[in-house]
């Protein structure tokens, strides 16, 4: 291996891209929540206020998974711990 630092940085960028892939599943989950909420709103328009509140809470809950992936990707890009470990042990 010519330059271990370049290898670490390249792998971190690939890892941050993989960490963002969980947005795929989060989007599917949120779409299912929204479609179920809209369906029940169409069936029972008088209950739409309480359904909307429950929908926002569930959307927020489902979004947490995506946010974790986003944060891991940010850490890999801007505050990479592996580079610091390498620089300390060189």
């Amino acid at each position: 291996m010519q330059d271990p630092l370049a290898f670490i940085i390249a792998v971190s960028h690939i890892a941050s891209a993989i960490a963002l892939l969980n947005g795929f599943l989060v989007a599917i989950g949120q779409a299912r929540i929204a479609s179920a909420a809209i369906e029940s709103m169409a069936r029972q328009p008088e209950a739409s206020d309480s359904i909307r509140g429950a929908m926002f809470i569930s959307l927020g809950m489902a979004e947490t998974g995506g946010i974790y992936g986003l944060l891991i990707s940010f850490v890999m890009l801007f505050a990479n711990p592996l580079v610091q470990i390498y620089l300390q042990n060189r």
């Binding site: 979004e63 946010i67 944060l71 940010f74």
Partner: protein
Amino acid sequence: MDFNIDNLWVLQVGGQEVWITRTILNTWIIMAFLIVAAIVINVLLRNPSSTPKGLQNAMEMIVEVFDGMLKTAIDPGIMYVGNWYFSVFAFILVSNFSGVLGFRPPTADWATTFALAMATLILIQVVGIRHRKGEYIKEFFSPNFVFFPLNLIGELARPISLSFRLFGNILGGMILMTLVYSLAPIFVRIFFPVFLHAIFDIFFGALQTYIFCVISLTFVGAAAGVVSGNAE
């Protein structure tokens, strides 16, 4: 291109270094704004009229909307937590919106959101023990005392998920805005960011504020249980 929280001053307090970061400065600016706004509104509405109009109408609308939000999430017996959550709501909303003016939003720092979420955790325990006493503590040992570590971890995961949700949304918006401002060509920078500000600062900021407050209130309401019977 700088996403870091820069350190402005270092104070020496009893041999300890205290860092005054940009987050703390912006928090104090927002607090000053909120306090001045509260005093001004209090002075202007010293003599409320029975037929509200103008400023009084707007304020009553805000309070009514917030009370409606409270009533859907918690029991009428613990409406007193509404005072704290209205302050939290106003603070998070103003700090998210402050990104429009070019501030670094204090909520884009994990320390701020984690402090707010820890306050929620403490409030959950206090309200739970106050209103259900032994029954609430027994819930940690249900269905069996072997499950105590699992229940404890589940309890401690709440502030982490609450704080990371708000922090990640605001930080993501801020990093995207910084990238657009520093990398885009100069003619894109003039008009285009208005739409990004509208989405990331205004829309996501308001939505995340709402979600933070509603989920916290749901946790607090679930901890207190049904208390309408002995309401004041």
